[in-house]
């Protein structure tokens, strides 16, 4: 999922200077998960902007309707075409991807060109939860995990070294850059040691092929996911999870 946090209100107000009538659009995907674009966040943002004297139209997206999934979010945009046409700006409470997908759709499919403003800062592809998350992959396009005992050298190492550790590892094997983070290369060493693969540690890994991440990357799948899947996702919400297994079982 794409982790994200809210931008400071002053920054958003700066972008909205001179723009009186604003649409506040939410996102039912990652932004709902991180409470940066759920219905509550849309309501709060609308209230704040109203307090600042703005004329606000709210456009939350239901759970599972992601701003970036334009086939579905586009339905909401079309439904609110009138409001979009009559407003000065659209504030999107999603990650940067959602903001741009919405912008392009409005420009090219709806013929509505408006100022589009991001309300959040995207923080990367993270895993973990329920409360703490960690960025572990930057979607580099050429996965190196097979060479590094399953720990990403590009993302988990502060310097993205293919051949670490650097000389800066701190006491308790923390990273040179931030004492709150573990040194990825010590972790790689320790996993390789447990796996009996230390010969891999001292072998030289070639420089990463950044050509595989030539941006912007374009991507196609053969069978698109249709609207029917949403019904199935709604069904999932009613699934009851059983009691958690005990650790010693």
């Amino acid at each position: 999922m794409i982790a994200q946090e809210k931008k400071p209100m002053e920054e958003i107000l700066g972008y909205l200077e001179g723009k009186q009538k604003v649409v506040v659009m939410g996102c039912g995907g990652c932004a709902t998960f991180y409470h940066t674009g759920d219905t509550k966040a849309v309501n709060e943002m609308a209230a704040n902007l109203t307090k600042e004297g703005k004329d606000v139209f709210k456009m939350p997206l239901p759970f599972s309707i992601q701003a970036c999934d334009i086939e579905k979010s586009g339905v909401w945009l079309e439904k609110n075409r009138k409001e979009l046409e009559n407003r000065d700006a659209l504030l999107v409470l999603s990650c940067g991807d959602g903001v741009q997908v919405v912008t392009e759709y409005m420009d090219e499919k709806m013929g509505i060109t408006k100022s589009v403003i991001p309300a959040n800062d995207a923080l990367g592809l993270v895993g973990g939860g329920p409360k703490k998350f960690k960025e572990t992959c930057q979607s580099c396009g050429m996965c190196e995990l097979g060479k590094t005992a399953g720990i990403c050298p590009l993302t988990s190492c502060g310097k993205g070294l293919m051949n670490g550790p650097c000389g800066g590892v701190r006491v308790d094997n923390k990273c040179e850059i931030d004492e709150k983070k573990d040194c990825a290369w010590v972790k790689i060493y320790e996993r390789m040691e447990k796996l009996g693969e230390l010969d891999k540690f001292i072998s030289i890994r070639s420089p990463h092929e950044w050509s595989k991440a030539a941006r912007p990357r374009l991507f196609e799948i053969e069978e698109p996911v249709g609207m029917d899947v949403i019904g199935a996702m709604k069904g999932m919400l009613t699934v009851k999870f059983g009691p958690k297994p005990k650790l010693d079982e």
């Binding site: 502060g158 070294l161 000389g167 060493y189 540690f201 030289i204």
Partner: protein, 306 residues
């Protein structure tokens, strides 16, 4: 590994001479006058001087330009430090070619501190290569006359490549694994981060075992308490002994400039006498004296190694 010898540093190492090197730090200035003056004082005391490349990620005069000017103006052979932090593989390759064209004879290949630690923290950190792959690149360029894509280099650069090692690393086994990897990559000599404790050094040599690559051990006789304190606080993998630090702190109170200098020298000589005595019994091929701006301490310390 090629057998050619291009530099005085490599000649002395190959001859098995006990080698001393120094360190010069270009600053945030539009000239290199100060390091040139320092280098002039160091001629004859050390065989070569490292010229730092944006140390601790503070942006200073380009170290290739500084190395060239120091060699030219002071007649001091330089070890051009080259960090991966600020340049991608293309820029590194051009810099190595440039260094060869300017007559530089030694490069110390470093990953480099992260940019967030220095005075330009919002810079985009590069690290396209790491120290190991930079060493490999340089060896391929020099020995095979090829670039990364295997394309031929006309009149390849003639220089040697060294690498760093951190005996005081928090995880010694991982550090030594990395050092062995650098040896696999063809590093021609190693230079350690500053060490103050003899047992730290012994553990490092024990863990490394016998290797064919000469190792220079880094020592840092501080010219002022501030320098020693900075190392203790901010340089990763370096612990400055509290006794030494206290003795240096005490010199701050001395008003008379000459007396202060004498006392600083005395503290350093007293501390390093034991250390250098111990160093003689280790496999070290020499000593890298990181005494930045403090050339007068080098002759008495060298004397201790006789």
């Amino acid at each position: 590994m090629g057998d050619e010898i291009y530099s005085d540093l490599m000649r002395e190492l190959k001859e098995g001479k006990y080698v001393f090197t120094g360190e010069l730090e270009p600053e945030k200035a539009g000239d290199v006058n100060e390091p040139i003056e320092m280098a002039k004082e160091l001629v004859g005391m050390v065989v070569a001087c490292n010229v730092t490349d944006n140390p601790q990620s503070f942006a200073y005069v380009n170290s290739m330009a500084a190395s060239y000017l120091i060699q030219k103006e002071a007649g001091m052979e330089c070890v051009y430090q080259l960090r991966c932090s600020d340049r991608n593989r293309m820029a590194l390759l051009s810099d190595v070619l440039g260094a060869g064209a300017l007559g530089l004879k030694n490069i110390l290949a470093l990953a480099g501190d992260h940019v967030s630690l220095g005075d330009t923290p919002d810079a985009k950190p590069v690290f396209d290569l790491d120290s190991t792959t930079l060493i490999q690149l340089i060896r391929t360029m020099v020995d095979e006359g090829k670039d990364l894509g295997g394309k031929e280099i006309h009149n390849p650069p003639k220089l040697h490549v060294g690498g760093a090692a951190a005996p005081g690393a928090a995880h010694l086994k991982a550090e030594v694994g990395k050092v062995k990897r650098k040896i696999n990559a063809g590093v021609e000599y190693l230079q350690t981060q500053v060490v103050y404790y003899t047992d730290v050094l012994d553990k490092f040599f024990d863990e490394l075992g016998k290797v064919d690559v000469p190792i220079l051990v880094g020592i840092f006789p501080a010219r002022t308490f501030g320098q020693a304190d900075f190392f203790d606080k901010y340089v990763a993998g370096v612990d400055v002994p509290p006794d030494y630090l206290e003795a240096m702190r005490a010199t701050k109170a001395i008003k008379d400039k000459e007396k202060k200098k004498e006392e600083v020298d005395r503290v350093n000589i007293e501390f390093f006498t034991g250390f250098l005595e111990h160093l003689k019994g280790t496999p070290a091929a020499g000593c890298h004296m990181m005494a930045v701006g403090y050339p007068r301490i080098i002759p008495p310390l060298k004397k201790l190694m006789e």
